[in-house]
């Protein structure tokens, strides 16, 4: 008896060690799987930051000192306008007047105009952050050898002026204000459309409908729509809003003179359809989570269904609904494909002025700039991505804080 046991034990012991080793090895590989994604994220952030800052070799066509003995920022508007008129060809000045009359420009904008029209600083060469930090001496040597009239400056491609300057075709001087405003307009209108409809549908499905064929069809539809690629929504938007409902979306029906439906309204309608399933599903869950004892208390006092929903269920579900809406908005801000289809224009430099303006958005600009070969476009693309990621980070943090704040209060 003992002999059998010891044989079994020694064999089991050897086997056991091997099995533990195997388990540990696999644990490491599973852990690795988890971290590879995080590792890629780090590399992504790293490369973006790398390309958003660095030294540039800049040469001015005209030396600012030759225009005025005082720095441009300190000159008055009249002086700036006269510098402009003196140094710019008549035709060019006429064009400038037509697009953006100088009398209406602020002083900072006039300085920008003088810079871009006369001084014309051109980036001859730009470097990424890592080479900038490690090879400074070599960069300075290159400038002295090849570009004696230029200077080496450290450039942060993301800067306050980057945020407030309008789009331009020159990567040196471009800002993203036009795109930021476009994104903002579209998001606000989208939420105004999708939020009430989404909540309404969720309330109907959770509080009013019995489990009949109609609500089952609606539920299946919503689940399906949530999984459809966003580009299909773009096709829908193109066919129906841009083309089919052209008269409405282009503003012709209220007398606006333009012929195409590639407007903020079309974009917002398309994006609403895109995020609607997300809002509905999330709102449904939030409403379902409201305990039935709350409803029963209300009904027991002789309240109608509407009163119960409006006074008790909705307020209780609202934190969850808001959190979900913020997340849906994050999703919408980063969407590109549907907006390409609905006609986001990449050559716009006028700020959107209303529902019926043509538009561009930040992701579209990123797409545009990424696909250009020149190195400076990489820089502005990276800077734009940084802006986009910061906006998304803020939104998501707000959502998480909101969720935590309200779950703490509920526990009372």
């Amino acid at each position: 008896m003992n002999k059998n046991n010891s044989v079994f034990e020694s064999r089991a012991q050897g086997n056991l060690n091997k099995r533990h080793r195997v388990s540990k090895i696999w644990r490491s590989s599973f852990f690795l799987s988890t971290t590879i994604g995080i590792f890629s994220l780090v590399i992504l952030l790293f490369s973006i930051i790398n390309q958003a800052f660095g030294y540039v070799i800049v040469e001015n066509k005209v030396d600012p000192a030759s225009l005025s003995s005082m720095p441009l920022q300190s000159l008055e508007r009249e002086e700036l306008i006269s510098i402009l008129q003196e140094n710019v060809s008549k035709n060019r000045f006429k064009t400038i007047q037509r697009d953006n009359p100088v009398e209406e420009l602020k002083r900072s904008e006039l300085v920008g105009l003088v810079t871009s029209e006369i001084i014309k600083p051109t980036t001859l060469k730009s470097y990424f952050l890592i080479p900038s930090l490690t090879n400074k001496a070599e960069i300075i040597r290159t400038q002295q050898d090849e570009f004696p009239n230029a200077v080496v400056q450290f450039r942060s491609w993301i800067s306050p002026s980057f945020l407030t300057d309008p789009l331009s075709t020159n990567p040196d001087t471009t800002g993203i204000r036009t795109a930021l405003l476009g994104s903002l307009w579209i998001i606000v209108v989208t939420v105004l459309i999708a939020f009430p409809i989404g909540i309404g549908a969720a309330i109907y499905l959770e509080e009013y409908s019995s489990n009949n064929w109609l609500s089952r069809i609606i539920k299946t539809n919503i689940d399906n729509l949530a999984g459809i690629p966003s580009i299909v929504y773009g096709l829908l938007g193109l066919a129906i809003f841009v083309r089919g409902l052209n008269l409405i979306t282009s503003g012709v029906f209220i007398g606006i003179d333009q012929s195409n439906g590639r407007t903020i309204l079309s974009a917002a309608l398309t994006m609403s359809l895109l995020i609607l399933p997300l809002i509905i599903i999330n709102a449904q869950e939030a409403i379902r989570a409201v305990p039935s004892s709350l409803r029963q208390a209300s009904y027991g006092l002789g309240a109608t269904r509407l009163q119960t929903i409006w006074h008790h269920v909705l307020p209780a579900a609202m934190p969850g609904i808001l959190t979900g809406t913020i997340l849906a908005v994050s999703r919408a801000i980063g969407e590109t494909a549907p907006l390409i289809l609905v006609g986001a224009s990449s050559f716009i430099n006028k700020d959107p002025s209303g529902l019926f303006s043509n538009f561009t958005v930040l992701p579209i600009q990123i797409y545009n700039w990424t696909t250009r070969p020149q190195a400076e476009f990489r820089n502005v693309a990276a800077a734009s991505i940084l802006v986009l990621l910061i906006v998304l980070l803020t939104l998501n943090t707000a959502a998480i804080l909101l969720r935590n704040h309200f779950s703490k209060n509920k526990a009372a």
Binding site: L301, A303, Q307
Partner: protein, 259 residues
């Protein structure tokens, strides 16, 4: 005080309650008397809560629930086509097993129901009166703005009673109101019930036989028959049921031989 033969305020005639095709309660005949406390007792699962909830049409919310028979409130069947269940629930109030105050202030809890039902008088007075009637005023009169969820279980339940009183019902249904409370809070509520019965009619479902014996005027004893449907076995004055039950099943339950 002249002995007034009390009128029945609810007359239940041949009531059966169905969940889809399953008969949960069978052929109940019962009269609830005005300004009396009526207890419904019996073992678990014999339909006591189901019967109680049929009195204020709360069963309407359960898909597939239906009734046969009549429940007459002031001689009108509350299940008639032209009767508004919302109004029924205003006139027949309910206190639930687990206290469920709204996540609002104490004041708001009471004010909300009254406002919604069109109360246009002095709300402060109403809040004070109902809280006094619910024996809670002294404990909370200085903190009416405090969140109701910060009260103890017993206080929350009394708040729920005050809330129910604020819409001025005629009948108060109580579904095992003390089962989530400690013995002292329980006694407080029983005293409260006795006070309230001067102005309201109270129907209470309870698991606690001693509570029924202590606190009620009339008692109905339910049990489950072979088809698992609830049936009323005996109904009468509490003193009679507990000292001299007419039915052997009643006697067995009361003496603890089963249930």
């Amino acid at each position: 005080m002249t002995e007034n033969k009390n009128q029945p305020i609810i007359i239940v005639k041949d009531l059966s309650i169905f969940y889809k095709t399953f008969r949960a309660v069978k052929n109940v005949d019962l009269e609830i008397f005005e300004n009396k406390i009526t207890a419904i007792i019996g073992p678990s699962g014999c339909g006591k809560s189901t019967v109680l909830r049929s009195f204020n049409r709360m069963n309407d919310f359960i898909p597939g629930a239906s009734i046969q028979g009549n429940i007459l409130f002031h001689d009108k069947n509350i299940y008639d086509e032209d009767v508004d269940p919302v109004q029924v629930r205003r006139m027949i109030g309910m206190v639930f097993q687990k206290p469920n105050p709204f996540p609002k202030s104490i004041y708001e809890n009471i004010a909300w129901g009254a406002k919604m039902n069109g109360f246009s008088g002095n709300m402060d007075d109403l809040v004070e009166k109902t809280l006094q009637d619910a024996a809670l005023w002294d404990e909370v009169k200085d903190e009416l703005n405090k969140n109701a969820l910060s009260l103890s279980g017993g206080q929350q339940q009394r708040l729920c009673i005050a809330r129910a009183l604020a819409v001025k019902p005629e009948i108060i249904l109580m579904d095992e109101p003390c089962s989530a409370l400690d013995p002292i809070a329980t006694l407080k509520i029983e005293d409260l019930m006795r006070e309230l019965s001067h102005n309201y009619s109270i129907i209470i479902v309870t698991h606690n036989m001693q509570q029924a014996a202590r606190a009620s005027d009339m008692t109905a004893f339910f049990t489950m028959d072979e088809d698992r449907a609830g049936v009323m076995v005996e109904y009468g004055l509490t003193t009679q049921i507990f000292t001299n039950p007419k039915n052997k099943q009643t006697e067995d339950y009361i003496t603890g031989r089963f249930g």
